[in-house]
């Protein structure tokens, strides 16, 4: 009962959802395809070779199963939740800060993993991950994950920075000039967790155990750190393209970032590299979730199976700069290459604190600061 309780509270919304999840019945067998499947996905997640011929993991699936894949891209987690609330989709590639909201809102349903032969190939570290497993039931199949890395300019940092301190605390960088005005931070309230993660190591006496579960004292210390960071940051980054631009023309030399920007900047021959410092990092993990009002369940199951094939997983990882959810993919994709998994952070799993929506009640039942306050306080920090 205790782990059950724990997952329910972590799922965060109320006891209601545990009951609701049990009420739904899972499918028992996968039959003939319905002819199509509608998926809400991050841009770049489902490619049919239109941008680059080599990156195509849809055409083959359509020919094999007769299920036409219709993709609706969404730019933010909130957009995904909104689209799923509207209905009419079979699958969604939800991140950890959206997946539990979808479960709580009963917009997704548990899947029958027995119908997905490749389930056994999924990275054991992800199989029962709390951001899509509620009450022992899986609400989808893991798709990709990745760390929020520290992106830095190699002309300034001859060696990789070992601490997130370079973007949190005022100091001189290796080129002898102060870091003020030359570092960036993410402008989403979820970034509060990055600061908490840093303090977890910097000030162990605060007793932070999970950056997504902060009590009032810990939260105050984190905000204090973020207010100090405001003095160092010229502009917070929101849009990946704007950040790429800021590294090129704005003199920014270090920032929290995604592998996507790192790869883009490297492709443009900019002197950059990325690292996961000793404190670890926050990260995201996406799940292909099955809609509660699924119209094309057979095609949806066929896609989930297809999405876990090593070749597809490797190709997506190469295209998106992410890490595959199926370890076999690391050797199965020419596009990803033999070093691809390592480059994108495969070995950093234990250092990653995956995105979750902070809630008012911690896993142990004590009071925590909820996400709505993260939002208003982070706005105040940025306005400071």
């Amino acid at each position: 009962m205790k782990p059950l309780l724990k997952t329910c509270t972590a799922a965060a919304t109320s006891a209601l959802l545990c009951g609701g999840a049990l009420a739904q019945s899972a499918m028992m067998s996968v039959g003939e395809g319905e002819g199509q499947v509608n998926i809400v996905a991050w841009p770049g997640y489902i490619e049919r070779g239109e941008t680059d011929k080599a990156y195509d993991w849809v055409t083959g699936f359509e020919a094999e199963t007769g299920c036409k894949v219709n993709v609706k891209t969404a730019a933010t987690s909130d957009e995904m939740v909104t689209l799923m609330n509207g209905g009419g989709f079979d699958l969604v590639t939800a991140s950890g800060d959206a997946s539990l909201r979808l479960v709580a809102g009963k917009k997704v349903q548990p899947i029958n993993t027995a119908l997905i032969p490749s389930w056994s190939k999924v990275d054991p570290r992800l199989q029962d991950a709390p951001w899509f497993t509620v009450n022992g039931e899986h609400y989808g199949t893991p798709y990709q994950w990745g760390p929020n890395v520290l992106l830095y300019n190699t002309a300034v940092f001859k060696e990789a920075p070992t601490s997130w301190g370079v973007i949190f605390e005022p100091q001189d960088l290796p080129d002898g000039k102060p870091n003020a005005g030359r570092v960036q931070a993410y402008d989403g309230p979820i970034y509060v967790a990055d600061a908490a993660n840093y303090l977890m190591h910097k000030q162990p006496d605060l007793g932070i155990e999970d950056p997504y579960e902060l009590n009032e004292d810990q939260y105050a210390a984190v905000l204090e750190l973020l207010r100090g960071q405001r003095q160092l940051v010229g502009r917070y980054w929101h849009d990946a393209a704007v950040q790429v631009d800021d590294f090129k023309t704005e003199g920014v030399v270090a920032s929290s970032s995604w592998p996507f920007q790192v790869n883009t900047l490297k492709a443009d021959n900019q002197p950059v590299a990325s690292t996961v410092p000793e404190e670890g990092a926050t990260g995201w993990a996406d799940t292909t979730m099955l809609a509660a009002d699924v119209q094309n369940p057979n095609c949806a199951y066929k896609w989930m199976e297809h999405s876990l094939s090593p070749k597809v997983q490797g190709d997506v990882a190469a295209w998106f700069g992410s890490v595959p959810a199926v370890p076999a993919a690391c050797e199965a994709s020419e596009l990803l290459g033999s070093e691809g998994c390592k480059t994108n952070g495969f070995d950093n799993f234990d250092k990653i604190r995956f995105w979750r929506t902070p809630t008012a009640k911690c896993a142990d039942g004590s009071a925590c600061v909820p996400y709505s306050r993260w939002v208003s306080d982070y706005i105040a920090v940025m306005g400071g």
């Binding site: 909130d78 502009r235 809630t359």
Partner: protein, 308 residues
């Protein structure tokens, strides 16, 4: 001579002719439906939402009447957002009026023939390209390693640029991460909306009044103050309504060019999106509506609409 056979269209025409009210109703049905349902309806929904509140624990909107959400607007951080946005909108409006006036004046008084066409083209041309492309282009112009910095360095004015950027409050690390940059982009993007109504108003100022003013011994400055400006005021006010309200509501420019300090539009975007706090977003939206209401009321009292 036989009467032409009646067709169905003919009887419809007769019916419409006999009952003019029916014609009016048919013509107006669609626009009224749109105005009432889509426009006023969504505004009403917004107003209703703003009286709800978000429950911190469940993250769900509690649909009970409360003023708690409006009270949140008065926290220091939110007041700062409102103040920042209103000051920016006022600065942009004043600067637009100052920049637009000479352009509109020349266009209305002196441009004729192909020059007039060229004027319209020049003013409208920026509106033909995508707003986003323009803003990104400005980001590159204003960047620390951008064209402006380079140009200042070439003419030896770098210290001037640095002095401007060192001004506390509005300065910053570079033009593109300071309020000055945000201001310049706003000014550029909304300028046509100020020039066009101003020019239309100036064209309606009768030339003989200017001659009369001069004949009576007024200096150009006096003519401007006592004749041109009062007569052109409706145009200035119309333009300022555009620039002021557009700046109040914009959420893209301050996100791309600026120091990440939120404006009202961005606060609405963040609150309704990431936070799912629709009530607070709705309350924030009420702020520009209230400000514009006051503004229009004030403009009306000042007699700005008398000439319409």
């Amino acid at each position: 001579m036989t009467r032409p056979p009646r067709r169905p269209g003919g009887s419809l025409a007769d019916a419409l002719w006999r009952r003019p009210g029916l014609l009016a109703a048919l013509l107006l049905a669609l626009p009224v439906l749109w105005l009432v349902v889509v426009y006023l309806g969504s505004l009403a929904a917004l107003l209703v939402q703003s009286f709800y509140a978000l429950d911190d624990f469940s993250g769900l909107v509690v649909e009970e009447f409360t003023l708690a959400t409006y009270a949140q607007l008065f926290t220091a951080a939110n007041l700062a957002i409102i103040q920042r946005t209103v000051l920016m909108a006022a600065a942009v409006t004043l600067a637009s009026a100052v920049v637009a006036f000479p352009i509109a004046y020349v266009a209305a008084r002196y441009a004729r023939g192909w020059r007039k066409a060229a004027f319209y083209l020049a003013v409208m041309l920026p509106l033909w390209s995508s707003y986003l492309v323009k803003v990104y282009a400005w980001k590159l112009i204003l960047a620390k390693e951008g064209i402006l910095t380079w140009a200042f360095a070439k003419v030896g004015l770098t210290p001037l640029l640095e002095a401007v950027l060192a001004i506390p409050g509005i300065g910053g690390n570079s033009l593109s991460v300071s309020y000055i940059g945000t201001f310049l982009v706003f000014l550029y993007v909304w300028l046509p909306y100020m020039i066009l109504p101003m020019q239309a108003a100036l064209e309606r100022v009768p030339t003989n009044l200017l001659d009369a003013s001069a004949d009576l011994g007024a200096r150009p400055g006096e003519t401007f103050r006592h004749v041109i400006l009062p007569l052109a005021l409706p145009g200035v006010v119309a333009g300022s309504i555009f620039t002021f309200s557009l700046t109040l509501g914009d959420y893209i420019i301050p996100q791309i060019v600026g120091s990440s300090r939120l404006f009202i539009g961005q606060a609405v975007y963040t609150q309704q999106g990431t936070a799912g706090n629709v009530p607070l977003a709705a309350a924030f939206t009420m702020v520009p509506i209230a400000i514009m209401g006051l503004y229009l009321w004030g403009a009306k009292r000042a007699g700005a609409f008398d000439a319409l």
